[in-house]
Amino acid sequence: MADAALKPTDLTRRSNLYRVSSQLGARWSEVNGFAAPMHYGDAAAEAAAARNLAIADLAALPRAGYKGWDMATWATGQGVDLPEPNRARAQADGTLAMRLSNGELVLLSGDDAGAATIDKLAGAWSMDGAVCFPVPRSDTNTRLAITGTHTPQMMAKMCGIDLRAHRFENHQIAQTSVARMNAILVRNDRGDTYALDMVLDSASAVYMWECLTDAMAEFGGRPVGLEAVRALSA
């Protein structure tokens, strides 16, 4: 539920897109120390867009990363169910474990912002004898969700990877160039709706948002809040 009194600047942590969302009339809720845009005032339109084509700012959702020569042993030892490189796997608490390479792991929380796995790993890691090291994914990157059936077609205007549903499986990862910026794409369907999560340079969030807004116009895409994204899996 949105908190009518909350302003993004009330909190220390701010999405690079908070001004954009404010201008779009976002209603906010505190998530993980951020004000997260929950909706933009038209729940029905957002619910429909989320199935057709929509983008959502998920900067607030927890994420973490670990990288090092023996990440796999350590993460597995911490109970992470680790997939092959360039694949993701959902953990029991809804966290998505994305393996970027043999030695690199990125964790994205579920849409509910549950951080059990992320917190557990943060608590367990120590510099002593470390074989992998935390990567500050929560700040290096921001996260966008792109949802709906037109997603692959729209993304084809910005990205050279074939992301169509029959060519890019759920939980497949593409580390590639999107609108000439490096980005990580993971297919992360919500319910039966095709969805991508984009993990990208936080300083480029405004640029990427503008590119996406432009590219999705022809398909009737629009920004939606976290509630519309959550509703897809409900």
Partner: protein, 981 residues
């Protein structure tokens, strides 16, 4: 009403949708589906353009845009191909290359001056005296040009989109349709894209005639198109051009304002062929056209291009055209068949049945022009007596239409782009496909096949093979009958020179037979030279209609075979494309720091630094210099705050972190204490300085290293490169984006920061070059007591998403102390006062640390760091040295960056940085000078603006030089007392 419109033909047009448009100011009516040309010809408009050089009246030749004749201006869009562009309601079309009116062009006198405008005219006529071209050029450009560019035209919206397919079939004619079908039938999983440049599938089936009854084409078209449309795994793109072939079957396909970038696994080229002109006197006039053009007009658009025709042909297509013309009510006066023997095919028989007289072994060798060349009124026909020669005796026929069908040139552009070869077959007088590149297949007339049944079988076979290349096989490869037709399509020499000329080989460039022969005789004999000297094939149609005959002429003039004469290289694009299409949406990535909006709100003038936006200074641009000075004063006298988030940051963690540091950087790091920072200097293998920064040691196994904004990606890449080979136990992570950074600097900076943190900031507890993890304004930060600007200061790195909150908190806390944000310009000046170099400003692609006077930063005892060996080798070969200098006087002439240091007329160095220091009240700078000028106290000369260079020696105008005195660095606070407060 449309005077020339046929009642019962024209399946491309929709008669229920009439529309109005204008051409050269007059209103005309056309139908939806018409092209500009078809609508104009329906309205009996005879002339569409004026030719490039002689301003001769021109109209359609191919009805397919295979020549420059139909180029028109549509609004602000120049060079629109009227043959193929669909007319729209309200469209404003104008003729191009016209002076005055289209029908009464003031430049038409040029046609009479042909003999004074020989081939290579421009090269010969205007190069003397020196400078003459400058006077002639604007006039020539006005006279001989294409459309007008409207500089005020609004920006269009163009974009690009990737597409993926297993098989791409280019060309929607019978071969392409059959290929797409066969490929698609291989599997429900195969994805086929079919690209067709017209609005409708069908290709030749939508206009050509294959049987006497005239039923076959339509029936086949319906059948094939229906089957293709029903196939769910074929995506059809109409009105779309495949404009080139690029490596690994990457195909740009332009449809409207969008370019699809199609990646296919295999390609079927079914692009058909270009009909070729018969070369004879006045063959360029309105009313002379190809058989295929007439058939397109009649069958696609229901337009009757004349009332009485003479046909010259050497193949069944001419007879097919004759039948279509008669069916459309055009009287066929006679047919001149260039072959000596009577053809044996049903089309010729049908023509004979209708009682049309045919002259065998004869050709049209002259069109009789109407007054002012506004069309034709007759044709002269004579017997052919030898290659390119005719008998003197001739017959004259009244006609308003001359139709020729004497041969075809394969539209093999994509095959050529891909490196495929098409040698000339002397027996068929045709370029035929030889070896095809991997994954490419061809079918139909592009592959020299003109018999419909064979074409369709060939299409099937090509589709099957392409599917196989893409990994889909079904059944055996369809067989193809070994029958390409009963007679040859191409006449070997359809070129008849006339003593009075005007026998055009290239309509685009107004080139006649003797122009090409003259080019060869003048020594431009090689095909590549002839092309460039004569410009044959260099016009808008890129040789589509001219190159076959041009090569034949070249071969003959040189006494070579056509294959020996060879073909010039064909490159993409296949047809003209708009710059907008190439540009697309032009992605220009931008990076904004978390504080970006705070800078803008504070009046920051933002500048680009790589992809980042940084404040150059704050305040009114008209007070630039004052604003920068005030910022300098704030830092030197009070406290200032600068956003340094764009600075690169790398984490090196693991037992070998210090070892890695010592291999990558020039200085020593193993003995660096935890909690301390140390300068870093990076060189490449040649010993050249590539980056600098500071290394913060946060633990035995943990270094946090900064790098320059533009250098960090390269530094990171280089570290990974080396460790891919060295296999040290160290993890290297680029954390540039993870941290926002600010530098709070000035004598009052400690007072301000103390309000926001519990950390002991006193000099004793937190000395200069100390580093700490600390909490500032409730935000976990990395505190670095380093300073680029030479005052007491702290660099604070915080998680990027908290950057704005940190900025706000510091600005708020600093308010009572008069804190002022400062920009990049102020920082550059402050660092110059401290004598710090900026890599790539004060160093260049050759600067080694010895030249930069940074011997102090080189580890002596280590056997290795990147660049060490090269630096040592260069030690005895120093040619320049970086020094600090000052210029005496109140208001000296200020050298600029890159102004030259000159001694005895020789360049010995250059200025890299120079500014007036408001703190020191004098001009200061950094410059490379000769090594023997580098001692403090010596002086050197710098040549400033508007000096002169003469020959290799530099003429010294002493009024244009400034004397600079070398001084010891730094200029400001040499003891470093202020930064160590």
């Amino acid at each position: 009403m449309n005077r020339n419109r046929l009642a019962d033909k024209g399946h491309f047009i929709d008669r229920s949708k009439p529309l109005d448009f204008t051409f050269d100011g007059k209103r005309y009516m056309g139908f939806e589906g018409d092209t500009i040309t078809s609508a104009l010809m329906a309205n009996d408009v005879k002339i569409i353009s004026r030719s490039f050089k002689y301003h001769r009246p021109r109209a359609t030749v191919s009805m397919a845009g295979h020549d420059a004749n139909p180029l028109v201006q549509v609004g602000d869009e120049a060079n629109v191909v009227a043959d193929t562009r669909q007319v729209e309601a309200g469209m404003v079309v104008e003729a191009q290359n016209v002076s005055g009116s289209l029908e009464n062009d003031r430049m038409q006198y040029l046609d009479k001056m042909g003999k004074f405008l020989p081939v290579g005219f421009y090269y010969k006529a205007f190069f003397k005296p020196k400078g003459a071209w400058k006077r002639w050029e604007p006039m020539i450009r006005r006279m001989a040009g294409l459309g007008k560019v409207d500089l005020n035209a609004p920006h269009g919206y163009f974009d690009k989109q990737y597409l993926w397919a297993d098989v791409c079939v280019v060309g929607g004619g019978p071969a392409g349709l059959a290929a797409a079908l066969e490929a698609a039938e291989a599997s429900p999983d195969i994805e086929v894209v079919l690209v067709e440049e017209t609005p409708h599938l069908g290709g030749a089936l939508s206009y050509a005639r294959f049987d006497a009854a005239g039923q076959r084409a339509d029936a086949e078209r319906r059948k094939l198109v229906e089957a293709v449309t029903a196939q769910a795994n074929i995506r059809v793109l109409t009105n779309a051009y495949c404009n080139g072939w690029f490596t690994d079957h990457f195909l740009p396909i332009i449809q409207g304002n969008r370019m699809f970038k199609l990646r296919a696994k295999s390609v079927v080229v079914a692009t058909g062929s270009y009909e070729q002109p018969l070369v004879f006197r006045n063959n360029d006039l309105p009313g002379v056209m190809y058989g295929s053009a007439v058939q397109r007009l009649i069958n696609r658009y229901g337009v009757k291009p004349g009332s009485r025709a003479v046909i010259a042909t050497s193949n069944p297509d001419g007879y097919a055209a004759a039948l279509d013309m008669m069916d459309a009510g055009i009287e066929v006066a006679t047919i001149a068949d260039l072959n000596a023997e009577r053809p044996h095919h049903e089309l010729a028989d049908a023509v004979a049945d209708r009682g049309i007289p045919v002259s065998l072994g004869a050709t049209v060798y002259e069109a009789l022009a109407k007054p002012h060349l506004n069309g034709i009124e007759g044709a002269r026909i004579a017997k052919i007596t030898g290659e390119g020669r005719v008998a003197e005796r001739h017959d004259t026929f009244d006609c308003d239409l001359i139709v020729s069908s004497i041969g075809w040139q394969p539209a093999a552009n994509l095959i050529w782009h891909a490196g495929g070869k098409t040698p000339y077959n002397d027996a068929t007088a045709m370029f035929e496909i030889g070896e095809l590149p991997e994954g490419m297949h061809a079918a139909g007339s592009v592959a020299a096949c003109f018999l419909l049944d064979t074409v369709i079988e060939q299409g099937r076979a090509a589709g099957w093979s392409a599917a196989k290349d893409a990994g889909f096989t079904r059944g055996a490869m369809p067989s193809v009958r070994n029958d390409k037709g009963e007679m040859g399509q191409n006449h070997p020499w359809p070129i008849f020179e006339h003593e009075k000329g005007k026998d055009f080989v290239d309509f685009d460039e107004d080139l006649q037979i003797h122009d090409l022969n003259n080019a060869v005789h003048e020594g431009y004999a090689h095909i590549e030279l002839m092309k460039r000297f004569s410009t044959c094939g260099m016009g808008p149609s890129q040789g589509r209609h001219s190159w076959l005959n041009a090569i034949r002429l070249n071969a003959k003039a040189n006494g070579l075979s056509v294959n020996e004469a060879g073909m010039t290289t064909q490159r993409p694009p296949y047809t003209a494309e708009k710059i907008g299409v190439l540009a697309g949406r032009s992605f220009e990535p931008k990076r904004f720091t978390a504080m970006h909006n705070r800078h803008v709100e504070a009046g920051g003038k933002m500048m680009l630094a790589g992809l980042w936006y940084r404040p150059e200074f704050y305040g009114d641009a008209s007070r630039r210099a004052e604003n920068i000075r005030e910022e300098v004063a704030a830092v030197r006298g009070g406290v200032g705050l600068i956003d340094v988030s764009t600075l690169g940051g790398l984490e090196l963690r693991g037992p070998d972190a210090a070892e890695m540091m010592e291999r990558m950087y020039t200085w020593a790091y193993k003995k660096q204490e935890t909690g301390r920072a140390r300068y870093t200097l990076m060189t490449d293998m040649t010993g050249v300085i590539t980056d600098d920064g500071v290394a913060c040691r946060f633990g035995d196994n943990h270094f946090y290293v900064t790098a320059t904004t533009s250098g960090v990606d390269g530094v990171y890449k280089e570290m990974l490169f080396w460790n891919a080979q060295w296999r040290l136990k160290v993890d290297i992570t680029n954390v540039t984006g993870a941290y926002c950074g600010v530098n709070i600097a000035g004598p009052k900076s400690r007072e301000v920061l103390e309000k926001l943190t519990d950390e002991d900031l006193s000099a004793g507890a937190f000395p200069y070059m100390g580093v700490r993890m600390a909490t500032v304004a409730g935000i976990p930060c990395r505190l670095l007591r380093v300073g680029f600007v030479g005052e007491l200061g702290f660099e604070i790195h915080c998680p990027a998403h908290s950057g704005e909150a940190l900025w706000d908190a510091i600005m708020e806390a600093g308010k009572p102390h008069g804190i002022r944000p400062f920009g990049v310009e102020c920082q550059r000046l402050l660092r110059l006062e401290k004598g710090h170099i900026i890599v790539s400003q004060d160093t260049d692609g050759l600067t080694n640390p010895l030249e930069a006077d940074m011997e102090w930063a080189l580890a002596k005892k280590r056997p290795f760091f990147i660049g060490k060996r090269s630096i040592e080798i260069q030690r005895d070969h120093l040619h320049r040295k970086l020094v600090g200098f000052e210029i005496a006087g109140e208001n000296p002439a200020m050298p600029k960056e890159c102004h030259l240091v000159i001694r005895d007329g020789e360049i010995v160095g250059r200025v890299t940085s120079c500014s007036y220091s408001p703190t020191l009240k004098k001009a200061i700078g950094l410059a490379y000078v000769a090594p023997d000028q580098a001692e403090p106290g010596s002086s050197f000369e710098v040549r400033v603006d508007s000096g002169q260079m003469a020959g290799t020696r530099v003429k010294i105008d002493t009024s244009k030089t400034v004397t600079c005195k070398v001084v010891k660095l730094p200029f400001y606070d040499p003891e470093g007392a202020r930064q160590e407060l």
